[in-house]
């Protein structure tokens, strides 16, 4: 690990000032950053510890019905907040399908958005990686890439964003609250992460030194609570990143779908909102044919970036399955294996 300066500012204003120093990185739980530093993948010269900043660990219900999740709210605390889980069951399910119990107890909401890809070539400093070393090339192209992106990738980077949490968040139009040297701003989550293009080292639209202070879910997101699921295909049923995942949420009125929300995880360098699939379902009956049409629309632009063509059909099927489960109703209780297609309550269609 490289030598670094460590600062623990007492106020948000001081933190943002310290974070503006070139080579600075914010430290919250460190569940990703510490691993990256130990592996020599990230070598920040300054660590600005924000983990004890006051006021950022609250789940607040705002007067307009929206919910503000403080950046330092722990994954487990959010998922186990009864009121939150009842209103946003797919978000709670996504949180509980991520990482391990120990990591969920530590990892923060804000940090989740900024976790780095788990592409093995990014972590292996002996490999070429345009994210780590812009212009170096990409060893994942032509390498071991069966888990890599099928949407939105470029020849410069075929990595995926690993978050579960972000997938239902993007389906529900979450907004990221950010504090920087130039003050406060709101960024829609759908515009927060960048696709790789020819600058895969720039992963978000954050300016240097900007700090996430909260994630907000709009009031209408709770309107899907009766029909909302998150499903995740993993190579083992816990403590694994998604091969593909999907959040599906429906508002069903008089037997027809009034509104649908669909997003995919594990398919691109950002959580992937499938608006074309949502449009396909508007006004349709909740039946297998409609779900399959939606799945086709969601993956219409997908193409393999290597040995991962199977992920395209897998993603279609998980969209169908997530929609099917969402249509049959959000379970009364969190499934014993959250987000697992093997955890009971498989609806018959």
């Amino acid at each position: 690990m490289n030598r670094f300066e460590y600062a623990r500012p007492a106020t948000l204003a001081d933190a943002v000032m310290a974070g503006a120093v070139p080579g600075a990185a914010y430290l919250a739980a460190g569940t990703n950053l510490m691993d990256l530093m130990k592996g020599g993948v990230m070598r920040p010269g300054h660590l600005v510890d924000i983990s004890r900043l006051p006021g950022l660990d609250q789940i607040e219900k705002l007067s307009d019905g929206s919910v503000r999740i403080g950046a330092l709210v722990r994954n487990a605390d959010l998922a186990h907040d009864l009121d939150f889980a009842r209103r946003f069951p797919a978000v709670a399910e996504a949180l509980l399908s991520g990482a391990s119990a120990q990591l969920r107890n530590a990892a923060t909401a804000g940090g989740n958005l900024l976790q780095r890809t788990r592409c093995g070539y990014f972590y292996d400093t002996a490999s070429a990686c345009n994210k780590r070393d812009p212009g170096a090339g990409c060893d994942a192209v032509g390498g071991e890439n069966r888990l890599h992106a099928i949407l939105g990738w470029s020849e410069h980077c075929i990595a995926t964003h690993p978050s579960d949490f972000c997938v239902p968040l993007i389906a529900f139009d979450a907004v990221v609250e950010v504090e920087g040297a130039n003050g406060h701003r709101d960024i829609p989550l759908d515009g927060f992460h960048r696709l790789p293009g020819d600058t895969p080292q720039r992963e978000t639209v954050l300016e240097p030194g900007e700090l996430i202070t909260a994630v907000r879910l709009p009031a209408d997101a709770a309107g899907f609570a009766a029909h909302a699921r998150y499903l995740k295909i993993r190579e083992r049923t816990s403590y694994a990143f998604a091969v593909v995942s999907a959040a599906a949420a429906l508002r069903i009125e008089d037997g027809a779908i009034a509104q649908a929300r669909i997003a995919l995880g594990g398919v691109a360098l950002k959580p992937w909102r499938a608006r074309a699939a949502e449009a396909e379902l508007a006004g349709a009956r909740a039946d297998p044919a409609a779900f399959r049409r939606a799945a086709e629309a969601a993956l219409a632009d997908a193409r393999p970036s290597g040995d991962n063509e199977f992920k395209i059909e897998l993603a279609r099927r998980i969209v169908v399955r997530a929609l099917t489960l969402a249509a049959s109703g959000t379970p009364e209780r969190m499934p014993a294996l959250p987000a697992s297609p093997f955890s009971g309550a498989i609806a018959h269609v």
Partner: protein, 240 residues
């Protein structure tokens, strides 16, 4: 599983065959309760740490190491490379017994496999040693590696495993196959396999006068002792 007893004592003594017998893992209780003490848990007073710098290429030569940068890192005590490492007391290729295998121990700058040790950085903390190893920033002359079975360039070792000949032939295979009533042709693939040790690979070594004590995970205590004695650096010191 109702008859599983959480005890360090063997369920019973076995005479003769172990087949079909319940097997008690004597240290199992300590391990599942977290009480087991592993080699790397030992921290003798004044202990310093060694981190290996390993090759990122599979075949070639190390042409440069930034030893000055590693030495300049705070906490780094020594950097051992082929240029200054103590010479081994014996020929690495001498096969004194069947289970002795060549190890690359900083004899020269040749890289024979990926992750081969190419330098050792010694420091007063593990973090400083690890960072020192990174700062060596090796440069290589790379040669094409032979990492598959279908390479054009064949490699026939003198022996395989614990000294068995590399090739053995009985009878006339071609004629036998040509005249066989049944032939099965098939391609077999094996998945990637990972070595997954329960205990981290670590050595804690401590001099006591002329005697070197070593704590390290090993399946063969006597053999490990022999190997280290044979690989001893001069001047000779006892290994226990």
């Amino acid at each position: 599983m109702s008859d599983t007893k959480l005890t360090q004592a063997p369920a019973h003594l076995r005479m003769g065959s172990s087949i079909g017998q319940p097997l008690t893992r004597r240290e199992g209780f300590l391990k599942v309760t977290g009480a087991a003490r592993y080699a790397a848990d030992n921290h003798p007073t004044g202990m310093v740490y060694a981190a290996l710098a390993v090759s990122s290429i599979a075949r070639g030569r190390v042409v440069s190491l930034d030893v000055a940068a590693a030495r300049a890192h705070p906490g780094v005590i020594e950097v051992m490379t082929p240029a200054n490492a103590p010479k081994l007391a014996m020929d690495q290729d001498a096969k004194l017994h069947p289970f002795m295998f060549r190890m690359e121990l900083l004899d020269n700058d040749v890289v024979r496999y990926a992750n081969q040790s190419i330098a050792v950085v010694i420091a007063d903390t593990l973090e400083a040693a690890t960072e020192g190893a990174i700062l060596l920033a090796p440069r290589y002359e790379t040669e094409p590696a032979r990492t598959g079975l279908d390479s054009d360039e064949s490699f026939v070792p003198q022996a395989v495993g614990a000294g068995a000949p590399a090739a053995e032939s009985h009878g006339d295979v071609a004629t036998g196959l040509a005249g066989a009533s049944v032939r099965i042709e098939a391609v077999y693939d094996t998945p990637a396999q990972y070595h997954n040790a329960m205990e981290p690979h670590a050595i804690v070594a401590e001099w006591d006068g002329d005697t070197l004590s070593i704590d390290t995970p090993s399946q063969g205590m006597a053999m490990a002792k022999d190997l280290r004695r044979n690989n001893r650096v001069s001047p000779y010191r006892a290994v226990r």
